[in-house]
């Protein structure tokens, strides 16, 4: 297996979306190709870091304000266009 072929399957490999035979071919490649091993390992870490990063959390006070604004607009909409 060439490195480019490995890279093409990297997303399926990381997502566990491969059949057993293809996965085993990729495992074999990783066992001897250090560059692909590093790319695979650091890509996995990239995903984990972003998944746990808590970027853009919604503060509780803003959340309450937004929800209240949404619900009052919904109520206004219902009054102007009541369900038949």
């Amino acid at each position: 297996m060439k490195c480019s072929e490995f890279l093409n399957e990297l997303t399926n490999y990381l997502d566990g979306a491969l059949d057993a035979r293809t996965k085993s071919e990729l495992d074999d490649h990783l066992a001897w190709c250090h560059n692909c091993y590093v790319v695979c390992d650091t890509t996995r870490k990239t995903i984990e870091i972003y998944r746990g990063s808590e970027l853009y959390e919604l503060p509780e006070d803003l959340r309450t304000r937004l929800r209240s604004a949404i619900m009052s607009k919904c109520t206004a909409h219902k009054k102007s266009d009541p369900p038949r």
Binding site: S4, L7, N8, L10, T11, N12, L14, D15, A17, N35, V38, V39, D41, T42, T43, K45, T46, I47, I49, Y50, R51, G52, S53, E54, L55, Y56, E57, L58, L62, R63, L66, R67, A69, I70, M71, K73, C74, T75, H77, K78, P83
Partner: protein, 214 residues
């Protein structure tokens, strides 16, 4: 640091019961749907618009649109996937309004082949994120993901940050499954490449500072 767990693991039937109650005019049921998904919609909106006020508007507009169009929701997908689709469209509209000089779409900058091939293969230090303060790390992660083309960024956020499946991401973005997979691969590889500037081991065993690499 706790892990973001998207609110999508609830049994479908429970979500669908809320949707059906809301369709019958039960606003408390709709409010419960807002509570379940407002954080997710806000994150997605801010990742796309990169602007907090726009993201707040998107949260309001997406839920209001969902409320008004609830009758049209055919229950063929999860309510959350349908809601994300509305939110993504609202967010892209905001982006277009703010940057009218640029055509913004999910097809933007989708080049082929070599743009994502790894050039940087130095290994990272163990737990590299621990070498930065929370504020520094946040800055690095924000700047890095903001540098991705919006078509890649959106797929990465839905799939890897919010935890939608490949199929749900395809539904939400109206893309084919191969298109989602291809964009996800490139997004992941580009982020990895850019983060390597900050996280790679130095030859001496020290941690890269990231300075001077920008």
């Amino acid at each position: 640091m706790s892990t973001i767990q998207p609110n999508i693991e609830q049994p479908v039937s429970e979500e669908m019961q809320l949707v059906r109650r809301a369709k019958r005019g039960d606003d408390q049921a709709f409010e419960e749907l807002v509570r379940r998904y407002d954080r997710n919609v806000f994150r997605i909106a801010q990742h796309i618009t990169q602007n907090r006020e726009d993201a707040e508007d998107v949260v309001q507009e997406a839920f209001l649109k969902a409320y008004r169009n609830l009758e049209k929701f055919q229950e063929q997908s999860k309510f959350y996937t349908w809601l994300v689709r509305i939110a993504v469209n609202e967010a892209l509209m905001k982006l277009r309004r703010r940057k009218p000089e640029r055509t913004v779409s999910l097809d933007e900058d989708v080049k082929t082949e070599d743009d994502s091939l790894p050039r940087e293969v130095a290994d990272w230090s163990p737990n590299p994120e621990q070498n930065y303060s929370q504020g520094e790390l946040r800055e690095i992660l924000t700047r890095t993901i903001q540098g991705l083309p919006s078509g890649f960024r959106t797929v990465f956020v839905l799939r890897d940050v919010e935890g939608l499946s490949t199929e749900e991401t395809a539904q939400a973005l109206d893309l084919s499954i191969p298109a989602v997979k291809s964009r996800l691969l490139r997004a992941r590889l580009q982020l990895r490449e850019r983060l390597s500037r900050f996280f790679q081991k130095k030859a001496s065993g020290d941690v890269a500072s990231g300075d001077g690499d920008q």
